[in-house]
Symmetry: C2
Subunit: 373 residues, 2 copies
């Protein structure tokens, strides 16, 4: 019997937003969920014990980065990614597809796979559906992703179709190369911003979805209305009985709009990346901690937050740390930002249970955008 | 009644090393103790909660840095350093003397004080004994240091005497300017590497020592034998009934040699600084984590250590983090290194209680230097 299953607890009667439990070999994940990103087998600046304290249920790690450094064979010899990075809850690895396509001139795509030069030392490598499955088997995450081609936003329909077709063929090869029962393979819906391609893609890939399906190639530069339209197009064709993962999405509004459109899983580097730049997400909108107005602000970042940072430190102190380029600034702001998104999805789960998700979203927006209104 | 007192628990019968308890307004400090350095109101990369977990009892912070950024008036308005940095155990601030003298061409010394240019923006400032007391009053540490002139190692005796005499005159002014009963002023013994000056200095400054005395100007480049000789020279004149603090000393051997010579308190940036460079202090000597030999070393940094880093991570993982310039490397190695020195002094306290400090030191050296022997 599979170690993976998805249990729907409740569907919001007004929006159709879902809350459920995703059972995995490393424990349960309550959905909707946000997954912090640990690119190089570390969620930047956060101890695993800190991540657990702030309620992270699952983290994402990047196959491309780990393939190059320290190498997936080494991770396998260390006992897999969970043991290597000391994270005993579920892990998801991406396929490296998005990263190698982002290399631009450094990569060449063919039906066989993608040949690319390492951004670290220029060495030549090839990723194929089969090699990417092998790498993800060695890393040993609970959830692994199919190797897909994410066509650039703005490309013409001919190219978008070509990339989608290639993604589908690669998916067949990924499914064939993936045989173990310990890891769950998520296929990825592509199709750029073309409604008919998106529909064609979701109809094709869902047959490969055993307990999870992903939507790729969104939030890549398109206007939000376009993104929402694509989600609405595919929604009727998404399987009900498994988690749906919207890849690379992590702003509060995109998360809420995704949840409203039946999405269960999200990931993004945003909370930790902006933390390292000295920016916080709060219930009253973004706070650029460096700003002079916080020089003598002896109140917490977010008066509605109960994270370690907000319980113990003031904006004046955080601003001082940012000004001094102290590592502690990145840590405290990362704690806050990741906690903030985890609280956002926790609140969404509760709201869905009481059929009040639309009201939850409305109230969040009212505060989050209050300054701008 | 003073909130400060020092209680000797035991004196090692063979070496004269002491263990005791230093009572302060923010709690007790068991001596001998190592104080991690939190230059800019943060022990670099460590959350205060993490510092507490690894057993830090007191931290040091730098007046020069805090005077420039964020300014001591701001810290005072924040409720003092303890509230500002969320550290509720004892704090010691230095006087800024060592930092401004280290500015070289950027400073000018007179009997009045030291005029200097900020290393941050070139702005001109003056530190006098009176201004430094005021700054330290605003910061609000439990223990504050007299403003002293630390003459350069290698200077001639005429200059060393001049700097010592100035230090003594400044001490008189500091004592006069310091009137509150909430903070304890530690006078500082100077005298460079001249035995007669050291003797003269300790005899002068001990009259100003109410509950604590410091030894400055050692471990500044001189051979260790010279440093030990200076400590032996002043030892007979150090008051028994108060803590003795050897400033800026933090290598394991200097700490042990200091304890053997009756020293109770130590501080140094070493454990956190080398951590950020990827180096660990272990019971088997230094470990440069980046070294290729650790690539597939799936054992902890130090097999005798029970810190969070050693309980949960391997050298191979730490090496990967260092190679990727991940912030987590600095955090985990800082946790280990600070914990290592805190364990070293904890072991010393236990050994002193059973009159076995010399044996404790011998056993530590046998392992620490095993590789080199």
């Amino acid at each position: 019997m599979s170690q993976f299953s998805y249990e729907i607890l409740h569907i919001d009667s007004h929006t159709g937003a879902r809350t459920g439990v995703f059972h995995t070999p490393h424990g349960d994940v309550c959905t909707p969920i946000f997954m912090p990103v640990g690119t190089a087998a570390t969620v930047k600046s956060l101890l695993p014990s800190t991540l657990e304290e702030i309620g992270a249920q699952i983290v994402l790690s990047n196959t491309y980065h780990l393939y190059l450094r320290p190498g997936s064979e080494l991770v396998a010899r260390a006992g897999g990614l969970h043991a290597f990075m000391n994270w005993n809850r579920p892990i998801l690895t991406d396929s490296g597809g998005f990263q190698v396509f982002s290399l631009g001139d450094l990569r060449k795509i063919s039906d066989e796979g993608v040949t690319f030069s390492s951004h670290l030392d220029g060495s030549r490598h090839i990723f194929t559906p089969e090699s990417v499955m092998k790498t993800q088997h060695e890393l040993g995450a609970d959830i692994i992703m199919a190797f897909d081609e994410c066509s650039t936003y703005g490309c013409d329909k001919t190219y978008a179709r070509k990339a989608m077709t290639r993604t589908h063929k690669w998916l067949e090869r990924c499914a064939k190369a993936h045989e173990n029962g310990k890891q769950m393979l998520f296929p990825i819906v592509q199709g750029n911003m073309f409604a008919d391609l998106r529909e064609e893609s979701v109809k094709f890939v869902r047959d490969f979805a055993e307990c999870g399906i992903a939507v790729g190639g969104l939030s890549v530069g398109e206007p939000s209305e376009v993104m929402y339209r694509m989600m609405d197009v595919i929604r009727p064709y998404l399987p009900e009985n498994m988690p749906r993962y919207l890849m690379g999405v992590g702003t509060p509004d995109y998360i809420l709009e995704g949840i409203e459109r039946g999405i269960d899983m999200f990931d993004c580097v945003l909370p930790t990346r902006i933390a390292r730049n000295g920016t916080a997400m709060t219930s009253h909108g973004k706070v650029v901690v460096r700003n002079g107005c916080y020089k003598e602000d002896f109140t917490p970042l977010d008066d509605e937050c109960d994270c370690y940072c907000c319980r113990n430190f003031t904006k004046a102190y955080l601003r001082h740390l940012v000004n001094c380029k102290e590592i502690l600034a990145a840590e405290l702001l990362s704690i806050h930002n990741v906690h903030f998104l985890l609280k956002l999805v926790e609140g969404a789960r509760e709201a869905i249970k009481s059929d009040s998700f639309a009201e939850y979203k409305r109230q969040f927006y009212a505060k989050y955008y209050a300054k701008k209104q």
